[in-house]
Symmetry: C2
Subunit: 634 residues, 2 copies
C-alpha cells in the first residue's frame, strides 16, 4: 500500500469540507495570531536578548512548525496567496535562522547557546527538529516550494553527524519522540535512504545501556535520579526508553510520545521491510486497542504524566486522553494499515478521528480541549486539580491546537491508499480523486452525508476501460453493509478480506458504486475488567459516539437509567450544534424523594419515567458549562 499523491485528492463537500473550511477561516488565522502574540513567530528572528519578554521556550518551534504543516496541506487544495505569504515569511525567518553547521532551534540559539544537545531527555530539541521536518515535507507537497525542505535536509544531515554509534558521536535519543516518523517522511519525500538510517538509529538506540539519559544527566552534573512519571513506575517508561523497542510489549508512559515512536517504528518497518519491527508494532497496537483505549479512541488515561496507566484502567471524569494522543493514535493506525491490509486499523482510526480527536476543537474552530474527558461535572475540576471542563482559547503548552489543525487540513490523505492495481477506501467522504491504477488515470468522485447518513455514492471514471480493484472498508460498527455496483449487489461475504470488500472488475467511465451502511443506534459495553464502566452503556450511531449533556437532560445525569429494552428515535439536534442526528429514548430517573433530604437510604430505589437525549460526543461543551457523560447507567 502506498499513499495517493497528496495533491490528487480533495474534499469537495460534506462533513470534512465544513471542518476544513472552519479550519482555514477560523483556526489557522487564530493560531497564527496566537503564535504572533505569544512571541513564537518573532522568536525566529533570533533577536531575543536576556531581559526581554517572550523568551523562546524549548517547544515553541514545534507549534509554529505544525502551523506551517497545516498551511502546507491547506494550500494544496485551497490556494490562498495571503496565507501563503504569511507562511513564506515565517519560512524565510526559519531558513535565515539556520546556523552555519545546519543547526536550527530558536531556544538553543538565543537563550542557551551553550546548552545545545545537553538535555535531550527534557528539552524537546529533537522533537522540534522532527516537527520542522514534517512542516517542510507538507509545505513542499502543498506548494512545491523547497526552501524549508532544503533547510531541514541540511539540519537532518547535521543531526546525522552529531548522533550515531560512530566515534565522536553522541549516542543520544530524543526524550520526546517525533523525529523518527519525520525522518521516514523526509526519506519518502526526498527518496534519500540516509534519513531512514538516522531514523533507524534513533529507534534502535532506545532503551540501550548505559542509558543515554543517565550519561547526559551526569554530564550536566545532575546526580538526582530520574523520577518523572510518579512513584513505583520504571522512570524511563515515561519516554519509552526503559527497554529496547523490540522488547516493549505494553504501551507505556506519555501517550503522545509513545504513539509518535510507534508510528516511527511502523513506518520504518514498512520502508525497510523489517518484519520483526512490524511484529513489535503489532504487539504494542494490540495492547493499546484491546486494553488501554477509551471508547472515544482517546489514549493516555492518567493525568499524572499524561500517560498510559495499566490494562483496563479507563477513568472517565479523570480521563486525560490528550487531543495530541488521539492524533498520535491516528498516525499509528494509518501506518499499521500501510503495513497490513486489515480494516482493524482503519476502524480504530475512524473511531478515534470522529470522536476523541475532533472533540478537541469547538464547532467554530476557535477553542480547544487539551484533555478529552468522558464525563464532566462543572464543579469537579475546581477540586480535582483538573483543567477546566470548558474549551480554551489557547494553552501555554500549545501542542494540541496546531496538531488538530494539521490533521484536519490533511484529512484527504486518509481516505485512500493504493497499490499498482488496487485502490483501498478507508474513510468515507465527499471527495474528488485522481489515481493511477494499472497505468491508467482514474477519476473517483463521491457524494455522501456520512457520518450522518448511511449512503455513499462513488462514480468511477477511468480514462479508459480497465481492470483494477477497489477495496472498500466494511466498518466494524456495521452489521449489514450493502454495496451495489451499477445497481447490482455485491456478495460481500465472498469478497471480504480482513474487513475490506475487494471488487475487481473492468471499470469504465461512469460506473457507480452505491454503498449503504445501515446505522441503527447501538449500545456499546466495555469489557468487564474496566471497573469504571461495569453496569454502564455507551451509545453509538454509525461511527459517531454519543453523550448526554445537562442542557438536554437536566442535572444529575448519573440518576438517569437507560432500560435495556428502550428504543431510540433519531431526531434532529438543535441548530446550535449543527442540526445533526440526535438520539432520544424513554428512560428512567431515580426518584430522590425516598431519601427525604438525607444522603443515604435503605429504601429500595424507585424511578420516574424520563427522556434521555444524546448528542454526538465530539460536539459537547459547545453550549455552555454543564454535566456530560458518555457512559450511562443501564
Amino acid at each position: 500500500m502506498k499513499l495517493v499523491p497528496f495533491k490528487n485528492v480533495s474534499i469537495t463537500g460534506g462533513f470534512w469540507y465544513e471542518k476544513q473550511k472552519i479550519n482555514r477561516e477560523n483556526t489557522l488565522p487564530i493560531e497564527y495570531q496566537q503564535c504572533k502574540d505569544t512571541g513564537r513567530l518573532d522568536a525566529w528572528k533570533l533577536d531575543w536578548k536576556p531581559g526581554m519578554p517572550n523568551q523562546p521556550h524549548v517547544y515553541w518551534d514545534s507549534d509554529v512548525a505544525k502551523w506551517i504543516e497545516a498551511v502546507g496541506y491547506s494550500l494544496a487544495q485551497n490556494p490562498d496567496p495571503e496565507l501563503e505569504k504569511l507562511a513564506d515569511e515565517v519560512i524565510q525567518w526559519m531558513a535565515d535562522a539556520q546556523q552555519p553547521d545546519g543547526y536550527l532551534n530558536t531556544h538553543f540559539t538565543v537563550v542557551e547557546p551553550d546548552k545545545r544537545w545537553t538535555n535531550l531527555r527534557d528539552l524537546h530539541e529533537l522533537y522540534c527538529a522532527g516537527h520542522l521536518m514534517e512542516a517542510a515535507v507538507a509545505y513542499y507537497q502543498g506548494t512545491g516550494k523547497r526552501t524549508l525542505l532544503d533547510t531541514l535536509e541540511k539540519y537532518a544531515d547535521y543531526i546525522a553527524t552529531v548522533f550515531g554509534t560512530g566515534e565522536n558521536q553522541k549516542r543520544g535519543i530524543p526524550g520526546h519522540e517525533e523525529i523518527e516518523l519525520a525522518l521516514v517522511r523526509l526519506a519518502e519525500t526526498t527518496g534519500k535512504k540516509k534519513y531512514l538510517e538516522l531514523a533507524s538509529y534513533f529507534i534502535e538506540e532506545r532503551g540501550r545501556q548505559p542509558h543515554y539519559f543517565d550519561v547526559e544527566r551526569k554530564a550536566r552534573g545532575d546526580e538526582s535520579p530520574y523520577r518523572l512519571g510518579g512513584p513505583d513506575i520504571l522512570p524511563y517508561a515515561y519516554n519509552q526508553s526503559h527497554l529496547p523497542v523490540r522488547e516493549q510489549t505494553t504501551a507505556e508512559g506519555h501517550a503522545v510520545r509513545a504513539c509518535y515512536l510507534y508510528t516511527g517504528m511502523a513506518s520504518l518497518a514498512r520502508e525497510t521491510k523489517d518484519e520483526s519491527l512490524a511484529k513489535a508494532c503489532k504487539t504494542l497496537w494490540n495492547n493499546i486497542t484491546t486494553k488501554r483505549m477509551y471508547v472515544h479512541g482517546g489514549i493516555g488515561s492518567s493525568r499524572f504524566g499524561e500517560r498510559f496507566s495499566f490494562d483496563y484502567d479507563l477513568p472517565n471524569e479523570d480521563a486525560y486522553a490528550e487531543t495530541c494522543a488521539a492524533i498520535s493514535l491516528v498516525f499509528f493506525a494509518r501506518n499499521m494499515l500501510r503495513l497490513e491490509k486489515n480494516a482493524d486499523y482503519a476502524n480504530v482510526l475512524e473511531n478515534t478521528l470522529y470522536n476523541g480527536v475532533i472533540s478537541g476543537i469547538s464547532m467554530d474552530g476557535k477553542q480547544f480541549f487539551y484533555d478529552n474527558i468522558l464525563a464532566s461535572h462543572p464543579k469537579y475540576h475546581k477540586y480535582s486539580g483538573q483543567k477546566s471542563p470548558q474549551r480554551q482559547d489557547w494553552f501555554g503548552c500549545a501542542c494540541c491546537p496546531p496538531n488538530i489543525a494539521r490533521l484536519i487540513a490533511s484529512i484527504s490523505d486518509y481516505l485512500y491508499t493504493q497499490s499498482d492495481d488496487t485502490l483501498w477506501i478507508h474513510l468515507f467522504a465527499e471527495a474528488n480523486a485522481n489515481i493511477t491504477l494499472n497505468n491508467t488515470n482514474v477519476n473517483l468522485t463521491s457524494k455522501t452525508q456520512y457520518p450522518w447518513q448511511e449512503t455513499i455514492d462513488y462514480t468511477v471514471n477511468p480514462d479508459a476501460e480497465k481492470s483494477f480493484t477497489i477495496a472498500i472498508r466494511l466498518p466494524d460498527w456495521c452489521d449489514n453493509p450493502s454495496i451495489l455496483v451499477n445497481q447490482e449487489a455485491i456478495d460481500l461475504e465472498k469478497v471480504n478480506q480482513n474487513g475490506y470488500a475487494y471488487i475487481t472488475r473492468t471499470w469504465k467511465k461512469g460506473d457507480k458504486i452505491h454503498i449503504t451502511f445501515p446505522m441503527p443506534v447501538k449500545r456499546v459495553y466495555a469489557h468487564p475488567s474496566v471497573r469504571q464502566n461495569c453496569g454502564k452503556v455507551a451509545i453509538k450511531r454509525g461511527p459517531i459516539l454519543y453523550c448526554l449533556e445537562e442542557c438536554d437532560n437536566g442535572k444529575d445525569l448519573a440518576a438517569l437509567r437507560l432500560p435495556p429494552i428502550a428504543e431510540f428515535e433519531v431526531k434532529t439536534s438543535p441548530e446550535s450544534i449543527g442540526s445533526v442526528p440526535m438520539l432520544v429514548a424513554p428512560a428512567l430517573r431515580r426518584d430522590p424523594s425516598p431519601w427525604n433530604g438525607k444522603l443515604y437510604s435503605t429504601s429500595t430505589p424507585k424511578y420516574k419515567s424520563a427522556q434521555l437525549v444524546a448528542v454526538p460526543y465530539f460536539l459537547w461543551a459547545n453550549r455552555g458549562p454543564g454535566e456530560m457523560t458518555i457512559w450511562i447507567n443501564e
Copy 2:
C-alpha cells in the same frame, strides 16, 4: 448534658476492650518510638542547632502532644508505671522548654526564634498550642498530675496577652484551628472562664476584614496573593476564614480544620449558652451530614487540599477522607449532642467511629491509613498521585496515628452523658461505670458482643433505690429494637424522644436492662445526586459497613453484581481478620467471553452465577494488596 467524669467509666470487655489493649500494647509504644526516632521527642530538649539532623518541624509538637493525651486517657483506667514514667519525662522537657513569658513551641524556639507569630496561616503555631492544652487536660484527668496543665495554663495566659482586640494586640487567628476547642476544654477542666473568652475571640475574629492573613502576609513582605486550595475557590475557605463563622453555611476547605473549628464553636456555644452560634453549628452539621459525608462517615472528599468539595461529590477510589477528618467529625458530633439531645448526632458518631475512623488503623494497631478510600485497585495509586493503598508504618506528617490512638484510649468517654437525673447511653460497649444520679451513686455494668451481636445487657446498681431516667439511643440503622427492663418490654413508641428511649422509674440494685437491636443485613443507597454511586449499593449489618475484597471475591470486583433479590447469609470471617461476621450472597459476574479479547462489544452482557463475600470495611487491607470496593453494582 454533661460528661461523666472520665475516671468513672471503664471498658471491661468486648470490641473496645480489644482495641484499647492493642492500642496500649502496640500503638502507643510504636508511636513513642517513632517520635523518638524522628527527633520529635528530642526536639523538646531545645538543643537543636542549625546543621544538625531532625530540625524540629512546625507541627511536631502536636504529634507528641497527642501521644501524651492518649497516654493520659490510657493511664486513667490502665495504670502502667513504665508508660507513665516515659510520659512524665517528656512532660518535664516540655515544662522546661517553656520560655519565661510562657511561650512553648520547639520550632519557633530553636529554629526560627525571630519568626514567632509571623505566619499563623501556615505554620501551625496555635494548632500546636491547642494540642498541648488537650494533652495537659487529659494527663491531668488521667493521672491527677498538674505539671503540664500548669505549663499550658501559663502558655494560654501568655497567648491571651498577644492576641485580642486590645491596643497592641495582634488580631490573629490560627490557620489550622484546634486551639478553640482546646481552650474550651481547658476552661471546663480548670473552671476558668477567661479561656472561654480567648476561645470566643479566636472564633469570632475569623473571617473579619481586613483579613489578618493578608495583614501578616504583607508584614512578612510577601506580596503574592494566597492561592492554597486550587483555582477558582475562595482561597480563605481552605481554612474557614472566608466569612465570619456565623455566616458560614456550608462546610468548606480542609476538613480537619473545619470540624475542629466547628467543634470549638459547638462547645463554646454550650458553655456560653449562645443559641445563635449553636444554630450556625447546626447549619454546618446539616450541610456535612446530608450533602458531604461518605457512607463510612469520612469527610473531605478532595485530595487537592484535603478538603470538602461540593454537595454530593463523593468519589470513591479518589476519596481523601483523612482519618483525622473522621475523628474531627466524631468530636463535632459529640459536642453537637451535648448541645441538643438528638440521636442524629450519636448515629453519625457511631457510624463514623466504627467505619471511617477505625479503618485508619490496622488490626494489630501497628500500621495506619492517612486517607480512607472507598474503593481501591492496587495498581491505581501508581498512576493517580494517590498515596499507597497499603497501610503505612508512619507518615512524615504524622497527625493521624496519634489522633486515632487518643480517640481509642478515650472511647469510654463517649458511651454516656448525664444530667442530674438522667443518664444517656449513646454507644454500646462492655463497661463499668459509676454515675451520680439524683445524688446517688449508680453503678452500671454492661455485657455485650456489640457490634457483632444484637444484644446488650445492663445491670443497674444504685447505692439505694432511686428514681432517675436512663435514656437509651435507638440506633437509626435498627428497625425493630426491643428493650426489656427486668424482662418486661418497654413500649418504645411511647418513650422515644428524638431517638432515645427515656426509661424513668425507681431503680433498685440488680435491675436488668436487656436490649436487642436486630441486625439484618441492609442495603444502603446513596442519594441519586451522588453521581459516583447511582446504580450501586452498599451493605451494612448493624453499625458495621461492609466491603468486598479481592482476596475473598477474585479480581474485577466491579464485574460482580448483587441482584436486588439476593439474600445474605451471615458466616464467620477468616481468623486472619478476627473471625467476625462475614456476609455471603449469591451474585452474578459479568461474563467476559462475548468481548472475545476486545475492549468494547455491542452484545448484550451475560452473567455467570457467582458468590459475593463481604467483610467489615474497617478490616480491609489487613490481608495484603488487592482490589476493594464498598459500593457494589446492583
